[in-house]
Amino acid sequence: MNDDLYKPFLLRIETARDEAPDVRTFRLKFADEGERVEFFRRYRVGMFGLYGVPGEGESTFCVASPPTREGYIECTFRKVGRVTQALQDLEVGQALTFRGPYGSHFPIDSWKGRDLLFIAGGIALPPMRSVIWNILDRRAEFGKVTVVYGARTTADLVYKHELAEWAARPDMTLVTTVDPGGQTPDWKGKVGFVPVVLKELNPAAKNCVAVLCGPPIMIKLTLPVLSALGFSPKDIYTTLENRMKCGVGKCGRCNVGGVYVCKDGPVFTLDELSRLPAGDM
């Protein structure tokens, strides 16, 4: 194994797409074929990477494309700080640095034959999008697939063209919603907060795995709905995002109690999270 831990790969931007205000998606090609092969040997959905611009630094976020598409990786991220600003300023053809994949993954092989319920809010769809595409690329292995996706306004919904594609697919159910007041006149989806929409949808918990990612307030209000529907904490998955520098369990800042989000996470079940100190999140 390479023990030069902070030496990054180079990825070149093949395409760039604006998803929502301040949110952009890059499709990235590996500069080196050996590094591509090594990446996909290790990559599973849910893992993350450190994307960097020399002179500005590195920023941590998920890989938004599935391991079933081995020619490239995609990432979708919001401009919130200096590094993400510098990354969004890059243009097609330019290179960025990348380290990864790091962290734990969604154990989708153990979900075979089960129904899957994905619940995402706002910018939290990208970490889940890799899982959804991974499942859809291996569609026959899983039961019913339902996606509930909400954002504050219609403009804030990411992957709009893919949402249309998912809505048209007969082998999955997509429910989109925006917060009251966030709808445009031509909006065809639901209007309402994610927990309320989920309650109305009333999905069956039997033999179903739920994946939940979103802003803390959405998570907080959605968990009681899932519990009431009968989902066990062991069947509810989510991801934690803490500030990270190394990604490999050394720099000492992403731990929640004794758990390192970079190595033990970012994917956790609700059951695992319930054993961590809430005061450290």
Binding site: Q94, T97, V248, C254, V256, G258
Partner: protein, 330 residues
């Protein structure tokens, strides 16, 4: 028996230097004793615990981990980084600082192995100096160490004949390589420093595991200024930051020491901070050393050197915190 006259100690440093080693030792640096690279003519100060430790030579406070040549219009080319791991002898390392190496080895090698740390570790021979004296801040004996402990050392020097000589004892193959540079002699080793056990780290760990939420933390951290001096002086603390530093032609990606005591350490880009106040940060420091680390690596992340307490301008002392925690657990 191998012995060295204390007055001729620099001769050993000189012999090592001549043999091609980089020599690190406690030296007087304008009135402050620091563990630094020794150069000819420099006096070695064996009498005081240096403010920094051998950690600096294995995990430097700033290190280039990646380098890029910057070109036109945002283009760049990676430039290979040469690994800096010269053959080194660390002379006069305190037993507490040598004991800290087990904790550093653990974190730099769990799962992902840190090549630059390991290269320097392999290239370094640690020659400890047993302590004949201890001050009020020393507490190695409370955390599994001893003033004449040999953990992490390749050789140990024991004060003898009332402090006028040192007895050299090799403890590993690396240490035995140095034997030829020390002459034969006779001396009677002095008694190591006498220290009282102040607390039981296992009892502290048990209380910590059950008391993440406790009013104790608010009160215990009141004096903390968040300056980070404790982490910078600690022989075990290893938290770091990665930062880019660039001029027009080149970017250097640096690994710099950092501290969990700083407010920015865990601050998210969103503005959320999981550890929003000093009490959460002090709790992290104590938890990491006495609960998280022992659970993960079966070793404490504190060796009782007392540097943090010696330096703290607010009078905070981790040994005192541990004593209070042990009392709370009774």
């Amino acid at each position: 028996m191998k012995t060295i006259e204390i007055g001729r100690f620099s001769d050993l440093a000189q012999a090592l230097s001549t043999a091609g080693y980089r020599v690190a030792a406690p030296v007087d640096d304008g009135g402050v004793v620091r563990f630094k690279e020794w150069t000819k003519g420099r006096e070695i100060a064996l009498g005081a615990v240096p403010v920094d430790s051998v950690k600096d030579f294995l995990f430097p406070r700033s290190e280039v981990v990646a380098r890029f040549a910057l070109e036109e219009a945002g283009a760049f080319t990676p430039v290979p980084v040469e690994r800096f791991a010269p053959k080194t002898v660390a002379l006069g390392v305190r037993p507490c600082d040598a004991a800290a190496l087990a904790a550093l080895d653990a974190v730099f090698n769990w799962d992902y192995r840190d090549g630059s740390y390991n290269a320097r570790r392999a290239a370094t021979t640690v020659v400890s100096l047993a302590c004949a004296k201890a001050d009020a801040h020393c507490f190695c004996i409370s955390v599994g160490g001893a003033p004449d402990g040999t953990a992490g050392a390749d050789a140990i020097l024991r004060p003898a004949d009332g402090g006028s000589k040192l007895v050299f004892e090799a403890l590993s193959d690396k240490g035995r390589l140095l034997e030829a540079m020390v002459s034969d002699g006779q001396a009677v080793p002095d008694a190591p420093a006498a220290l009282k056990k102040r607390f039981d780290p296992a009892a502290v760990g048990r209380w910590l595991a059950a008391n993440f939420e406790s009013p104790f933390w608010k009160e215990a951290a009141l004096a903390c200024l968040g300056c980070g001096a404790c982490a910078y002086a600690c022989p075990v603390c290893h938290c770091f930051d990665l930062q880019d530093e660039s001029d027009r032609k080149e970017c250097r990606r640096l690994r710099n020491w950092d501290s969990c005591g700083f407010g920015l350490f865990t601050l998210h880009a969103s503005g959320h901070n999981p550890r929003p106040d000093q009490s959460a940060r002090w709790r992290q420091r104590v938890m990491h050393k006495f609960s998280i680390y022992p659970q993960k690596f079966k070793t404490l992340a504190c060796t009782g050197c007392g540097r943090c307490a010696r330096l703290c301008q607010a009078g905070m002392a981790i040994a005192e915190t541990c004593e209070r925690i042990e009392a709370l657990g009774r």
